[in-house]
Symmetry: C2
Subunit: 209 residues, 2 copies
Amino acid sequence: MTDKQVPDVVVGRLPLYLRTLKQLQTEGRRVISSAQLAKLLHLNPAQIRKDLSMFGEFGRQGVGYTIPDLIAQLERILHVDRTWEMIVVGAGALGQALVNYPGFEINGFRIAAIYDNDPAKIGKPIGRFIVRDVQYMPEDVRSHGWRIGILAVPEAAAQAVAEQMVSAGIRAILCYAPTVLTLPGNVQVQYIDPIVHLQHMAFYLEETD
Amino acid sequence: MTDKQVPDVVVGRLPLYLRTLKQLQTEGRRVISSAQLAKLLHLNPAQIRKDLSMFGEFGRQGVGYTIPDLIAQLERILHVDRTWEMIVVGAGALGQALVNYPGFEINGFRIAAIYDNDPAKIGKPIGRFIVRDVQYMPEDVRSHGWRIGILAVPEAAAQAVAEQMVSAGIRAILCYAPTVLTLPGNVQVQYIDPIVHLQHMAFYLEETD
């Protein structure tokens, strides 16, 4: 089965499987059943078996999955058996937190540059970077062939900056601005907005409060 | 229809509707059709009408939804027609970014305190707060009746800190640690992990690269 036939909702679960398998590996585990993996993920074992079967035969009946093998397969399927260089646009408090986040490099991603349009921030160090003027972003993206960008600018600037990123060649945007971007269909966009999650949980809170 | 009968996936879309409606309101719009709202959200109009109809009759055939009214209704349904006080545990780069995030207060939430266990951070100012020793967290949560906590600690500490939060009375946790927490069923948990989103997008990248 080719990638295109896999439902996006299945693709979205693969990183969760990979994250849990890597955690198990650091704990010294070598084999896991779909039932055990399902319990850790609060999912259904049949769901996990069905999801993985879309990509091949990875487990053995009555034995389960060999953790290092399944990690390698999932990394290959998700195209993170390589390291993707990324840019961050926005060098505020969030941009600084992103630059200091140790999780990217061990999971297939590496921040390559950080940009801002604020003269007070441009040229200043954050982590191992010097903040670059965002006017150089398109040229940098083109010359390096970067494909992934993290958008950490205020909401009012998000759409315009995203369009500049896409014009330069960015094809996947992780958007921290609380908005919905309108971009060409060949651009992947995922959103991170704590308000959406907090409001979702607040729905259930009054009853137990 | 009571809240309990509404599928969680529907509840999860309400904050997205609310976010877009609030954005339209700041742009001066007063009325919107489900078709227009659907286009902005990259969703199906019938889906939006069906979701909202679970909670009442909000729109008028051929006219659409009155934006301020629908905002008020969604805020009531999501229990964010009040302000929830929250704690943040973890005063690293992420905790600092959260404390400086202006979006909480206009959307029903307010950070009330931030904690850490690092003597180098305790007592130091971040934003309008002084970082408190996490040993005082349980007592603070009990005495104020706080229900929502943001977990911004390293992965290795996340489960233990989450359990302390829950023992003290926290019933909703927004977890930024890259892990899956095991907590009682009456506790809401939502996760924010940039890696999950980046790997999801990387799946589609190779083909266009």
